[in-house]
């Protein structure tokens, strides 16, 4: 079962990182007036 949690956890880590990068870029662009 550890492998299952590892795989799903790794996926959510990847997805979470990507979504965070998109949010940070969106906020930075809004601050810059774009």
């Amino acid at each position: 079962m550890n492998y299952v949690f590892g795989a799903y956890g790794a996926f959510f880590l990847l997805l979470g990182t990507y979504v965070t990068v998109l949010i940070v870029r969106h906020r930075r662009l809004r601050k810059q007036g774009a």
Binding site: M1, Y3, V4, G6, A7, Y8, A10, F11, L14, L15, Y18, V19, L22, R25, H26, L29, Q32, G33, A34
Partner: protein, 239 residues
């Protein structure tokens, strides 16, 4: 021929639809992902592999959407090279970014599944190797964009690279049939027997996960495309 022509009404309409996809499909995808996880948790345990087989639902759905997104990159590249409308470069960039993240997911979940079943994290066999080559090609795609920004040369180079890289996708799909391989044969899209290789109780969780990844993949790609458009507007670089 100028690097960037003015957009036409059809492209503008498609652009609007694409941005709406971002707003609608992303929350739908997130909800479906939660439903998919619930169904995966309740899915039957496979007789031979045991619990690690539950990685199948995630691994297959990630592979599916990565290939769809890279198909979109190739299509955007072709349309960009023909029309030189910058939206197609922006869309290609958005699709490639999300596809790269999802393909990285395939390359992470695959070895975690392989370890308990094959007894090893990685084998240099045809499907794994061709998938890794695809990952490297899209790593190169993003390195070019990082190094050069979003000018016309980069747009043309990435359009060509995106089309070239997509040629690897059918090779990955057929690699298990063409060469001797450790990777299992397709169990879902078998010739003339769709879904025939899976227990019916495993089909629903797989379909929900595929639908979730499809919505998330397309939605996040559209959001990334919009961000890229705003970056271009701010920097004004596209010659």
């Amino acid at each position: 021929m100028p690097a960037s022509r003015s957009e036409n009404p059809l492209t503008e309409k498609l652009e609007t639809i694409w941005y709406w996809c971002g707003k609608l499909l992303t929350p739908i995808g997130a909800a479906l992902l939660l439903a998919g996880l619930w169904l995966v948790a309740g899915a039957p345990i496979e007789a031979l592999q045991g619990p690690p087989q539950k990685i199948f639902y995630l691994h297959v759905s990630l592979a599916w959407i990565s290939f769809v997104l890279f198909g979109g990159v190739a299509l955007s590249g072709i349309v960009y090279l023909v029309t030189r409308q910058r939206f197609w470069d922006q869309a290609g960039h958005g699709l490639a970014s999300t596809g790269f993240v999802f393909l990285s997911g395939v390359l992470v979940t695959g070895p975690i599944w392989a370890r308990p079943i094959w007894g090893t994290w990685w084998v240099w066999e045809p499907r794994l190797t061709t998938t890794f080559i695809l990952w490297l090609l899209f790593a190169a795609y993003h390195l070019i964009r990082l190094a050069r920004g979003n000018d016309g040369w980069t747009a043309r180079a990435c359009a060509v690279l995106g089309i070239f890289a997509f040629a690897d996708v059918p090779v990955i799909h057929l690699s298990v049939l063409w060469w001797r391989s450790m990777h299992p044969f397709p169990v879902v899209m078998r010739k003339g027997d769709v879904g025939g290789g899976l227990d019916p109780a495993m089909v629903t969780p797989l379909l929900v996960m595929v639908a979730a990844m499809t919505c998330l993949g397309l939605g996040l790609s559209a959001i990334r495309t919009r961000l890229r458009k705003r970056e271009d507007t701010l920097l004004g670089v596209f010659e």
